[in-house]
Amino acid sequence: MQLLDVCRRAVEEAVRAGADASDAYGVEANILKVVLEKGVVKRASATHDVGFGIRAVVRGSQGYSYSTRLNADPREVAVKAFRAARAGPPDPDFKSLPTPSSYPSISGLYDSKIASMGVEDLVDLCYSLVDLAKRDKVYSINMSVEAVEFKRFVANSNGVEGVDEGTLFAFEVYVTARDGINMASSSEANASRFYGGLDLQGMTLKASEEAVKYLNAKSYKSCTASVVFSDRVLATIFIDGVASALNADLVQRGRSYLAEKVGEKVAVEKLTVVDDGARAGGLLSMKFDCEGTPRGRTLLIDGGFVRGLLHNSYTSGKAGVKSTGNASRVGGDLDFRGRIAISPSNVVVEGGDWSLEEMIEEVKVGVLVEDTDDSPNIATGDLSAMMTKGYAIEGGEVKYPIKQTLFAINMLDLLRKIRALGKRRVKRFGLEAPPIMVSDVSIASKA
């Protein structure tokens, strides 16, 4: 039986069991991965994850179940979801699952080259890149490459049905450098929907060069300074700090620092942030979200004002507005096991008119922050983070890499203190954003 048929059957069975509404979400994902450790490919894996998750709704209460056995009777899974839903109290805020509508046609989401890649192709690719990273003081070169092909299926009791397919290619390189007991590292990672979408050589070279540079990293000083944020840290700011804080569920429950700010000016006038789930070639573009609502474009911040929220069918029903097509699954869009949630899709920040060099020159004395693994506290907006990649700016120039240095700023202050936006936008995973220059950031270091 095809997975869409299984989804349809599961929905029918849930309704037959007594559910007021039901939907099913099926995924077939093939993930081929090769890992290179210390310059040598050591591991290869193939994961085939196939299954479907079903949601049953009884008086608004939502029950879930899932199965990886496509040949089994979907009735058993549907009844489990129904019984789970029945165990909860009524929820009058639940209004309706999505109703049928046409899906956008989006180009650049499927690359047959990725779909046809074999393990040898990925092994050869790793070996073709590894020599680029070799240089004096480089101690170990580690990489992982992943080729993913997937199909998604959705069906619900309102007659929604959809099938979507796509590919993605992910690459990560992690280089360590050693000089006696002194060790340093640098990594680069990104993913694209098509094979030629990433500059693999450039990423490998950059990781290697920066790992060696980082051997000379110094502590910074504790001070208040202007900071240029560029590269991966922009995802911390704009995806984790802005788009995720405009998740309608968090806003409705008062759990976001932006909850009381909808319609208000929260940022400098030149800031425009859009969630664009139907962008051609976008890493997180899809025809429909995890409930079957068409993906769309949502203006989140315009002219510094909060203009929109990210919705799924539950939050949009509660607010009496249309869903923005941002229903996700806990565990990711390819995880049929997780419950429905809300996530940003591709986040696009409009660029300004400064070059990165001009911003650095303008800062004179400060810090260039490129990466952190921290994320803001969404309830308070406080961002207190370690720079996993950062450089001291002196005399308007990037001088030396810095280590063991933290920065802290509240997101509301950050958004109001953006002094400049860059011309050239960085594309990292689901983000397209320009570097920004922010004043009055608190810096803490050992010195």
Binding site: V40, D49, P89, M183, A408
Partner: protein
Amino acid sequence: MDPRDLARRAVEICIELGAEFADARLLSHSGLRVEVADGRVREVKSMDEVGLALRCFVGGGWGFTSTSILMLDEVERACREAFKLAKAAGQRVEEKASLKCECRGFSIHVKPRVDPLNLSVEEKVEMCLGMEREMRELDSRVRSTSSVYLEAREELFVVNSLGLESTAIMPTLLVVASAYASEAGVTQRGYESNGGVGGLEVLEPKGPKAVARDAAQEALELLKAKSPPAGKFTCILDPELAGVFIHEAFGHACEADIVLSGGSILEGMIGKSVGSREVVVKDDPTLKGLFGYTPVDSEGVEGRGTTIVEMGTLKSYLHSLETSSRMSAKPTGNGRAQGYMNAPIVRMTNTFIDRGSWKVEELFEGVERGVYAKGSSYGYVDTAKGEFVFKCSRLYIVERGELKQLCRDAALSGFTLEVLRNVDAVAGDLSFKPGLCGKEGQWVRVSTGSPHIRVRDVVIGGML
């Protein structure tokens, strides 16, 4: 065919194909997850899944695949695939180490003393709703609440080509509470959890309502909190935060797969001094009841306690079968995988700083100006740089040994090679907290533990 016979047959097929080593791991996972938010059910999910994970080792390379279709023809296909992947992976490996497994198989069936299956789904939903009521009734400033109840049962069977067969049946239970309190335009979050391996008895003595109260009290207390100071401080860490601290600051850098990949600053440091004589660090998968209790790992190896640091000296790394074979060490039972779709990698279990001789109040004496950091949000480390950060939920300024202003959202950072030297006092009040640890996209249950400790020169990222 019986699934266990299918696993045994899979290992035979891989060896027949030419694998030097093969193992098969049969994992069935079932359970229930309830999540309630603001008095309404967000999710009641019934979980039930079985799968077979297969690994082949050929010429120094690993091939891994898995299947949820437990039929002989599908398993044969998966074996051929795992073998092909291993062959491709190992084609240029020069270090042709063979895998050794000088360990016996081990079987364990952990039975819940108070079986959660005796409660209906409705009663578990009511438990979550009751946790929420507890939070809301505590104070009207508690505006939004969530609670989670998670019960799971894992049945593991591992067989390998060196003759090992192990089984483990493990029930786990976890409750989580989150509270959001608001006042005068300020919102703060409190979080608390409790859980372990076993039945409902693992929630005692701190039951679901007490967990909920603690979460709400944390959120309420934080409403008064100011931004933290920035700079270098003497820091007293409570057991919860010190547990995360040792996990991040030191534990990950001791995982032997990271050491072998050239990614650990602790490579070549066995037998060398890494900390003050006050410090003893252990990873012990055999501690019953704790959330990281792993009597058998995902490679079928019986867990054994490992002393990582003794009297300040680095004694051992944590191992899987591959790393122990390559480093001529004994396996420690730390080869763990999240599920049947993941290959085992080296993971911690119950990692902790052992008891010291100080009294908790003595840690504060003589601290002219420092901080007392409590509770943990999260942490992470770059094992090569040895640079780590961890977030505390509450931070108090300490002046002349006394607690003063409460601060929020502080990040604390340090260096692996320096930080244990800076631990100058360890108290005797060891306790553990459950948690989930992420590595290479895999999440496994762990416990972190410690007594109160005092650390000099910790950098705190706050507002100047």
